[in-house]
């Protein structure tokens, strides 16, 4: 997934569309908006980001999971199998992005890239709703995908690269 910080206005449509799409509990959110301002008045720079699970290639949450509920699914997405999850929160402690929370039904929940939609040929809920079209989703191993093209043509960053987890959420600058 790519997230264009130049376009994002931090409106939280992604946050709320995700909440509705995934019927999340009252205090559950799988994505969130970060707005950072640097500098001193009147010389300021702002960056808005829509953040979520980074679906790392080397996910520490999966290594930390004692039951095998957290796993890397075929295709690379990191998922949690609800019935296998004991709610022990080891994954929550292991995730440096703070991407997970305990669902009101007891299991640990997080972004799934809306694979239930993707399998139907639809975009993830957040991507679908975004009024600024800042979010794009696609196959990074496919050079023809929108996300691959964006990463070839734009400067980008990932969050906490120093941890070496190979996150798959790219912020276009």
């Amino acid at each position: 997934m790519t997230m264009d910080t130049r376009l994002c206005v931090g409106c939280q449509a992604c946050v709320l569309a995700c909440k509705a799409e995934n019927a999340l509990p009252e205090k559950g959110y799988r994505d969130w908006v970060v707005s950072e301002t640097r500098g001193e008045f009147p010389t300021l720079v702002q960056e808005n980001r829509s953040e979520r699970c980074n679906h790392c290639d080397d996910p520490p949450c999966v290594s930390a999971c004692p039951t095998g509920a957290s796993h890397v699914a075929e295709g690379g997405a990191v998922l949690v199998t609800h019935y296998k999850c004991s709610g022990c929160k080891a994954c929550i402690a292991a995730c440096p992005y703070n991407a997970r929370y305990v669902h009101s039904e007891g299991y640990v929940d997080k972004c799934t890239f809306c694979l239930h939609r993707v399998q139907r040929g639809e975009k993830p809920g957040c991507v679908d709703i975004c009024p600024t079209s800042a979010l794009r989703f696609g196959d990074l191993s496919d050079p023809g995908s929108d996300v691959s093209k964006a990463l070839r043509s734009r400067k980008y960053k990932v969050l906490k690269p120093e941890l070496g987890l190979k996150p798959n959420l790219y912020f276009l600058l």
Partner: protein, 742 residues
């Protein structure tokens, strides 16, 4: 689950063709032995309708499963949403399923404002309202009843009140919001901007926002267009005392001193004219008064503007040149709520004049000239002509106002203030205690009324003051009139009921019709229901009813909307030209060209109170909507970081998150509210999002969260041209909440 590979590939690759197949063979996402969990929010029924979380009216696809609305998506067929929604639009379910909704009709049993009511039957409530309306008409004449309305469903009540015989129908969205803008553009170009604003943000190369904070103010289509423009390399120039989200994307942010925009605009005119950077042919061909304007701004140099605006002369010069370099695709955004300082029509005139110099009216990337699809009105019996002047006195006070002033009707409720007294209010969908300035004055007016009834979805402050409260169904439970949009791609959209009305709520058309029957106005309601009404109009227009029901929208052909596309520019002004110099203003004793007059300064230790929007909220209408408000539960007071280090009387630096109380120039104290200490605002003003600080006890979520700017707006400056209420003229000092409560 069987996956259709082609469908799957479409996601990653869009329409890039055969190359899309490369690299996918090992990436069958989610195809584990444990299937991907489906939250099951896809509707078994999907109903197209349009949104009412704000006034923009985006097309929505409502997903319904087991009789409940599971989610709301943007309707791809609808030109205003194009498949996308703003955060508020996703939150219709939070309104529909708000446990605090008005559930049954109620009649007040204690004195006004105490919010003690008795639930009654619809018959009893309607009989009461109609009985009072008949008595008012008998005793004072029909004009003694005023209708205040906001929102698309208000059309049924406007119709009712016109049939009843009163000319006094007003929406705060005019005199408290976009009124100065409509009048300013109309005086200059012979036409206003309407809603959605007829502007070509998508194709503009330079977008100038003057106080408009688009991106926080979430007009879906405009935010989409702004984003497309930015993606294509368009530049932004943002003039705002606050570093807005849009300022964060701008080439230039001009942190202007509040209230000095006219000075900046005059200096830009000076630069553009003296350096001959205007569109010479366009100005020659289409405008009148250029010589007068040139003389008028000859001494309004950037150096002159500097002490007024706080913007360095070189910066003014540079931005003036920059904006002009993109002409005519250089768009001065007209803004929306433009009631700031009481000289608002003149400020808008100044913006319109800069636009005229840039030749952007009627040009690609500037202002558009769209049209509506033709749709006959329902063939109602004609309303009886009402001979008396409206109570806001447009003829004698504000001849240029093109709509009725809500504040004027409120004033006319105080006995002896107008040509006759307003004695009864019908209030539809607007919380006048937050939407009119100075709620003390509004309460005083309410106490003078013989009768007040409110039609609403939620028990807001205003409904607490009503004698009768009628619970309306939400937009997801009702059919309203058709939306016939004036847009570059004209369309007709329908609001269809998605689910049955909950509780004992009723749709507005039903309430209006039942009142009409009791008032002897049944001839004005000759239809079974609003669906029959709407379909009759669609058929009369020769359109396909089935298509409208199925897709929610009938789209017209895109029409030429710019000179480049073949539109011949014409101007419905007195001169037939763009009026840089306004004779009508001169005749009425106003400045024919904008003149800058410095606003009052905040007294020492006080700050100008500015207010604006959150992307998640529509005024105070959504702050009790749990789906939305949990993501943005309270407002904060923005205070400049340097100033916060040494605020008078605080005895130490103010930190973000600390609770403060604002005290205005008249001693009115706000509810406690968190401070946001930030570099993002000037030191002479503070800022908060409007719509918080509810006190109505029925709003169990919103009550007591954040502070209400409305309570602090005890002063306003009336625009002498059109009667708008400039509300950015209040000053506050900051106290620590703990100190003030002990």
């Amino acid at each position: 689950m069987k996956v259709n590979r082609r469908q799957f590939i479409k996601i990653g690759a869009g329409a890039v063709g055969a190359t899309a197949f490369s690299g996918l063979t090992t990436r069958w996402w989610g195809l584990d032995k444990d299937p991907v969990h489906d939250p099951g929010t896809e509707g078994t029924k999907v109903v197209p309708t349009f949104c009412e979380l704000c006034f923009w009216k985006c097309g929505v696809l409502a997903h319904v499963k087991d009789g409940r609305v599971t989610k709301l998506k943007g309707n791809p067929a609808h030109p205003l949403s194009r498949g996308k929604l703003c955060p508020r639009g996703t939150g219709g379910t939070g309104l529909l399923y708000d446990p605090d909704r008005l559930k049954r009709p109620m009649i007040r049993v204690e004195k006004r404002g105490e919010q003690v009511f008795e639930e009654v039957s619809w018959d009893a409530a309607l009989d009461e309202v109609a009985g009072k309306m008949l008595a008012i008409r008998e005793k004072h004449g029909p004009e003694a009843l005023a209708l205040f309305t906001h929102g698309f469903g208000g059309s049924w009540f406007s119709h009712l009140i016109k049939a009843y015989g009163s000319p006094n129908i007003a929406a705060p969205s005019y005199a408290q919001c976009r009124g100065p803008r409509e009048v300013g553009y109309w005086l200059t170009f012979g036409q206003g901007l309407g809603s959605p604003e007829a502007i070509d943000m998508e194709h503009t190369r330079c977008l100038v926002l003057i106080g408009s904070h688009l991106g926080e103010n979430m007009h879906n289509t405009q935010v989409q267009d702004m984003s497309r423009a930015i993606a294509r390399g368009a530049e932004l120039v943002v003039v705002d005392p606050r570093f807005s989200t849009a300022a964060g994307k701008a080439r230039y942010w001009l942190p202007i001193k509040p209230g000095s925009d006219i000075a900046l605009l005059l200096a830009w005119m000076n630069v553009i004219i003296t350096e001959k950077r205007y569109d010479i042919d366009y100005v020659e061909k289409y405008t009148t008064g250029f010589d007068e304007l040139r003389a008028h701004v000859a001494d309004k140099t950037p150096e002159w503007a500097y002490p007024h605006t706080g913007i360095e002369p070189e910066r003014i010069r540079e931005t003036g040149r920059f904006i002009a370099s993109f002409k005519p695709a250089s768009l001065i955004h007209p803004g929306r709520r433009t009631t700031w300082y009481g000289d608002d029509t003149q400020r808008i005139r100044a913006m319109a004049i800069v636009a005229a110099l840039l030749g952007s009216w009627g040009r690609r990337g500037g202002y558009l000239l769209p049209s509506k699809m033709s749709l006959p009105r329902f063939p109602y019996t004609a309303y009886a002509y009402h001979p008396r002047e409206k109570a806001d006195r447009p003829g004698s006070l504000y001849p240029l106002a093109d709509e009725t002033l809500a504040s004027g009707l409120c004033d006319a409720t105080i006995p002896g203030k107008s040509v006759y007294d307003i004695k009864a209010w019908l209030v539809y969908g607007t919380n006048l205690l937050q939407s009119l300035p100075d709620p003390r004055q509004t309460k005083e007016a309410i106490q003078k009324l013989e009768f007040i009834a409110a039609i609403d979805v939620l028990p807001v402050e205003l409904t607490g003051w009503a004698d009768v409260v009628l619970p309306e169904s939400t937009y997801l439970e009702r059919c309203d009139d058709l939306h016939v949009a004036r847009y570059k791609e004209p369309f007709i959209a329908v609001r269809q009921p998605v689910v049955e009305p909950m509780y004992d709520s009723k749709p507005g058309w039903w309430i209006a019709r039942e009142l009409g029957r009791r008032l002897g106005l049944e001839d004005y309601f000759p239809w079974k229901d609003s669906v029959e009404y709407a379909l009759a109009r669609v058929k009369a227009g020769g359109y396909d009813c089935e298509e409208l029901k199925r897709t929610g929208v009938i789209r017209g052909k895109p029409v030429p909307v710019t000179e480049e596309e073949g539109v011949a520019l014409s101007f419905a002004t007195g001169s037939g030209k763009i009026e840089l110099y306004s004779k009508p203003l001169e005749m009425l004793g106003h400045d024919p060209m904008p003149v800058y007059r410095a606003p009052d300064e905040p007294p020492p230790g006080m700050f100008r109170l500015l207010f604006g929007r959150s992307p998640v909220h529509s005024f105070g209408r959504s702050t009790n909507n749990r789906f939305l408000a949990l993501a943005d539960p309270e407002n904060e007071v923005w205070v400049n970081a340097s100033v916060a280090r040494d605020l008078p009387g605080l005895g130490g630096p103010l930190k973000s998150g600390e609770l403060v109380v604002l005290v205005n120039q008249d001693g009115v104290r706000s509810q406690p509210v968190k401070a946001k200490v930030t570099q993002r605002i000037r030191g002479d003003c503070v800022y908060m999002v409007h719509g918080f600080g509810h006190t109505a006890k029925g709003l169990t979520f919103a009550r007591g969260r954040g502070a209400s700017d409305s309570e602090l707006i005890t002063r306003y400056k009336v625009d002498p041209i059109m009667g708008g209420t400039g509300m950015n003229v209040n000053f506050v000092r900051i106290e620590r909440a703990t100190a003030s409560t002990t």
